[in-house]
Symmetry: C2
Subunit: 229 residues, 2 copies
DNA sequence: AGTTAGTAGTGATTATTATCACATAATGGA
DNA sequence: TCCATTATGTGATAATAATCACTACTAACT
């Protein structure tokens, strides 16, 4: 799924960003919190932001992770008065901050721009529901497979020996993303490794047999476009 | 969550519907199928439509059910070339059919209208993610509780003895909606009945103790607005 | 190079949920 | 009203995943 800013024409891009204020967030800094008034929407100039929902006191569920040229906070700004999730910088990040009212005015005066936002949200919704399907329909192994396939769609390069994932992958993060215990994720990945379905050097994974994953998730029914996280 | 057509001003409403063609769908008729080119978006004049994803050959997962004045097909039309889910009439329904291209033109020329669609989608996305949280975080009982709370938010009336749900509720449907086996749902509801948390006369349920459900789902963190199905 | 968080792997056990196999109840037509 | 569906309840069992408890590995930093 393309980041929102990469979907815009030059003039739309500038229109949006001339009204926005730059702000720096250090690694682990909170950008907004669940339940707070949704007063700003954010665009990522550089860095990476994790959007998550809290579950009780000790755990959370990652909703999505967004990077350069993408936006966060849209669900709160467009969907309600308050943010329904929280966002935190995964690494030092430069963001552009746009007031809720300004965003609404810009969009309501610019249908073409709104339509691009609409597409962006529709794709997120598709991704969210596909995720739900994978998680509920094929159990933990399906959830982990779904995560790998999506991650590979975002950060994978095709090589003769399989799809090499260029971004590091942490078991603990997968666990938080799919709400399956760390140990179970670890066991599933170990099993795949022992069967030669995946390989890894520390945090860098290679998917040796995409067919296995595609079959497991019945991927033939749905396109790859929105098969992301 | 308000149906899309109820969010529109009169002139927006008419603008949209003058370009749409009426069509009748009998109970159980397919409106569109997963994987087909997303050429139309639909508005519901009367009736009820279920949107679902298929899982293997025998089962499916209900994504949402939409009624009068609401729309379906938006994820396909705005989010990609093909429908990522299927829709079927739950009862005899009168729909208005709008061409994909027409919808895009109307919205791109009308920012205010687009913004309303944007809000509608953002709320759906919020609902979808909250659902994911409830299902994954609190197990099957959480999933069923989440379903009841959301259903009560849509069709519940407050009475001295609890919240009475005015629409019939079928265990089998809950099961399809939340991807928990019918038997497990049945057992959970039986347990609640034996504890006096819910009561029912056949398909009509009454929630006697909302506190229990709100505590179970840690509802204090999130508003009721989008807590729907 | 050694220390210290943070991350990962794995066995044993428990808890949860699906599945199978029926019995029973409710519903909607002829 | 009776029959055929369709929906529900429940025990027994199997499958799946969480939790606990610990060991081992890895990366980052003095």
């Amino acid at each position: 799924m393309d980041p929102i800013l990469e979907r815009l024409y030059h003039d739309e891009y500038h229109l949006l960003l001339t009204y926005a204020e730059p702000a720096t967030f250090r690694k682990h800094a909170h950008i907004f919190n669940e339940g707070a008034p949704a007063e700003h929407m954010f665009f990522i100039a550089s860095g990476k932001v994790q959007v998550y929902k809290t579950i009780g006191y000790h755990s959370y569920l990652t909703v999505f992770t967004r990077g350069e040229n993408d936006g966060v906070g849209e669900i709160g700004v467009f969907g309600g008065d308050h943010y329904p999730n929280s966002a935190q910088a995964v690494e030092d990040s430069e963001l552009y901050v746009l007031e809720r009212g300004t965003a609404e005015n810009l969009l309501s005066e610019n249908g073409a721009l709104s339509l691009r936002f609409l597409r962006w949200l529709a794709e997120s919704l598709d991704a969210s529901e596909s995720q739900l399907r994978d998680y509920t329909a094929f159990g933990s192994e399906g959830a982990v497979a779904s995560f790998f396939v999506r991650y590979a769609n975002m950060y994978g390069v095709v090589t003769p020996s399989g799809i090499r994932i260029t971004e590091p992958l942490i078991i603990q993060d997968i666990s938080n993303h799919i709400a399956v215990s760390r140990e179970t994720v670890s066991r599933i990945v170990s099993k795949w490794k022992s069967r030669g379905l995946v390989e890894n050097h520390n945090k860098y994974f290679m998917l040796k047999n995409m067919d296995y994953f595609n079959r497991l998730l019945a991927c033939d029914q749905c396109g790859v476009e929105n098969c992301i996280l």
